[in-house]
């Protein structure tokens, strides 16, 4: 495709990787170049960093709007709350902004952009990291921006030896070449650090892939299990129940409090059963979940399910007192032939006439075969039941709470990808921001009985102290009066 009457060479500057400089060396005609795929408009558009910046800003701006518009409510909420903009919000899915088609489209665009940019630039980077037999071109080093030239009375041979020793103390090997009258001593290190950028970008792709897999193949739900009971179904946010392949039994639940009343720690003792066989027993705390075969069980909340071991005291109108310990639903005979008494239920908070009574038992009695209406007796309020005016009254002296444990159950097969992405992103950032590919070249030319020395340095990262490094190298070689 390139005719041999022309030589087109492509230089790409490190400072402006977005443009290619075409240099026509010879040839009377400029023959039109058939479009290589890399030069096509589409490729160049997706390979442009300008696009990356635009997409990043668009993602930022749309994320901002998602924090001001409440997310996840039904459409009517927005039509009511934002009379002017409500329809606009729901039609553009801005109430599910982060899972909307256009937000995902932006993320997809970012992925394509990253991929195209990386492919576009990788071959060039690869050639720098693995230059093959060609090695370094001294002329490129000579033109380095950071350089110092000075004269020295030392002989050329001595200076060359000093330069070799100096460069050997740094990272990387030093090699000396003699080109005509000039010696060129060279060292470089950190070629591989140029891959840092690609590592960062691959990590972004991994993160997005992991997120996608998680949203498609994962789920999140809750289950409330009373102490002593077992369950397999969870309720997901969308309202659909999911049946787990394991059954979870809550053997015990425990909550402890600080003096202030704030919760200190919640703990559940759980047993997992799969196919009838017990497979795992573990205590979980709020920050310490149970993980089994891709499922994770988190201590999320708790509550009171009921009461048991209820100690009651029955006082008949004859003054006869007796104490019993019962469970909910038990029927006890009231001494003195005054019928039967049952506790039918328990409420932690009972609201009546604008008041809230705590720890209330629902009860009824059976007299001459007829059950009465349900009446309430709060725990720890002796004599409360006297108000009923019956043949006997009951005091609830003590009882044990039955807790239920609130578990959050999740499954996210994307997590390993996402965590890998995290590690790569940190590693990639460290490499691309804090490490560099450095090349140092020292040119020594004979000048009378002494020599002229030129020290040049090239770094893949701008470092304001780089000049200082070159200067100190010159000083070590005996250079004086350096600018």
């Amino acid at each position: 495709m390139i005719s041999d009457s022309e030589i087109l060479s492509v230089h790409t500057c490190h400072e402006m990787p977005d443009r290619r400089i075409f240099k026509k060396i010879q040839g009377p005609y400029l023959m039109s170049q058939p479009l290589k795929s890399r030069d096509s408009f589409i490729w160049r558009a997706f390979a442009s960093i300008r696009l990356s910046v635009v997409v990043l800003f668009l993602l930022a701006a749309s994320s901002v709007s998602g924090t001001f518009i409440p997310q996840g409510n039904p459409a009517e909420f927005y039509l009511y709350k934002y009379p002017a903009a409500g329809k606009f919000i729901t039609s553009l899915d801005m109430h599910h902004l982060y899972s909307s088609w256009w937000f995902r489209g932006l993320l997809l665009l970012l992925c394509v952009n990253i991929t195209v940019c990386s492919i576009d630039r990788l071959s060039r980077t690869w050639k720098i990291i693995f230059p093959g037999r060609k090695g370094v071109n001294p002329e490129r080093i000579r033109k380095a921006r950071d350089s110092i030239t000075f004269e020295s009375a030392t002989s050329k041979e001595d200076m060359v030896r000093a330069a070799e020793i100096l460069l050997a103390t740094g990272k990387g090997k030093s090699e000396a070449k003699h080109i005509e009258e000039e010696a060129f001593i060279f060292t470089e290190s950190g070629r591989w650090t140029r891959l840092g950028v690609y590592i960062v970008h691959i990590s972004v792709l991994l993160l997005l892939a992991g997120g996608l897999i998680g949203s498609v193949y994962g789920f999140r739900g809750t289950m409330n299990i009373p102490e002593g009971k077992e369950a397999s179904d969870i309720m997901t946010g969308s309202g659909k129940p999911v049946t787990l392949p394991v059954a979870v039994k809550c053997d015990d639940f425990d909550v402890s409090f600080y003096e202030s009343g704030m919760p200190k720690e919640f703990r559940s003792k759980l047993t997992l059963t799969e196919n009838g066989r017990e497979v795992l027993k573990k205590d979980i705390l709020v920050n310490s979940p149970l993980r089994y075969k891709g499922l994770s069980f988190f201590q999320s909340s708790y509550g009171v399910e009921g009461a048991t071991d209820i100690r009651i005291e029955i006082v008949t109108k004859n003054g006869e007192k007796s104490e019993r310990e019962i469970k909910i639903g038990d029927t006890v005979e009231v001494p003195g032939n005054f019928g039967y008494f049952t506790v039918s239920g328990f409420e932690e908070n009972f609201h009546v006439k604008g008041h809230t009574l705590k720890e209330v038992f629902a009860c009824f009695m059976i007299n001459e075969g007829k059950p009465s209406d349900v009446f309430i007796i709060p725990a720890g309020m002796p004599g409360f039941d006297k108000m009923r005016g019956g043949n006997f009254y009951v005091n609830i002296k003590n009882y044990k709470k039955i807790w239920y444990t609130g578990l959050q159950v999740t499954k996210d097969p994307g997590v390993p990808l996402v965590y890998t992405g995290f590690i790569l992103m940190i590693a990639g950032c460290i490499v691309s921001f804090f490490m560099a590919h450095r090349q140092f070249g020292i040119f020594v030319r004979q000048a009378g009985s002494g020599c002229v020395v030129r020290i040049c340095g090239v770094s893949s990262r701008k470092n304001p102290l780089f000049e200082e490094i070159i200067k100190s190298m010159a000083e070590k070689l005996g250079g004086k009066n350096l600018e």
Binding site: S63, G66, Y258, N287, Q408, V418, F422
Partner: protein
Amino acid sequence: MDNSINTLIISVSGYIFGLAGLIYLAAWVFKKQGLYTPALITAITGSLTNAAGIGIRWHESYKMGMGHAPLSNMYESLVFFSFALSVVYLIYENRMKIRTFGAIALPMCFFIIMYAELAPNVSGEIKPLLPALKSDWLIAHVISCFIGYAAFAIAFGLSIIYLMKTSTGTVENINAGAIIRMFLFLCVPLSLGLFLAFRTTSLEAALKAAWAGFGTGVIIIFIVKISGSKIIEMLSGLPDLKNLDVLTYRVIAFGFLFLTAGIITGSVWANSAWGSYWSWDPKETWSLITWLVYAALIHTRLMAGWAGERIAWLSILGFMAVIFTYFGVNLLQGMHSYSVG
């Protein structure tokens, strides 16, 4: 405000930072090179005192039977922010060999601690940790984020200086265009930042703070306008534009690494506490927004034509995002609210 030892020591460290800032300012304005050493020593003293306050607070929490690292509420996070800012600044001064910037960085530490002391809804009381906050990932997450914020705060200061230089430039007469620019990069960030910082106290306090910030900006512009060449002379004590640009970029890169680590540790913490590494919670989302702005900034450097000045504006925008992430999200709902104690 309670009177326990740790808050007292932290208070003292705030005043030491203020003093250090004044010495740096004097050294810069009056061009007295000899003052830089006492300034540095004062700054280091302030930093150590700040650290001591944090350490004692940690110890005291154990004595009270609710031991935890002091990183769990607004007061503690502000105090750590000030400490991180002082440390990042001192490292920066040492590595990059510029000292004049201490006149901006140290007063920032002073103001942060003063805000922690005086803002009515910020309580210095040591409170026990809720179960969800008991995690080593919490410590890593908070520390990481605040080191990142500290770096971005320094970049913010450097960018203001950059824009101040380009606005005053070599022109003796600072024209209307320059004044409008100064209004944009001084008054707007100051009033907006202070508004957000005080909004959780009350709307009234926030508006007063915003006016105070606005007024400060106006006073600075006024001083610049009447001092003219004196200001240009003062600004020449700072590195030139090209170096300022590279210095800013380097501190942003540092901040970006720690913000990334902060977001990551936060996600791992969330995943281990409630099974979801990302829930688009307003605070999570805003930290991502901040990350996106700085990522865009880093990429604009590769675009030909986006010179140091646009980077400076982006750095200011990024820091506004940081301030919103820190203070603003307490006004939106979510589980991250520091506004509770």
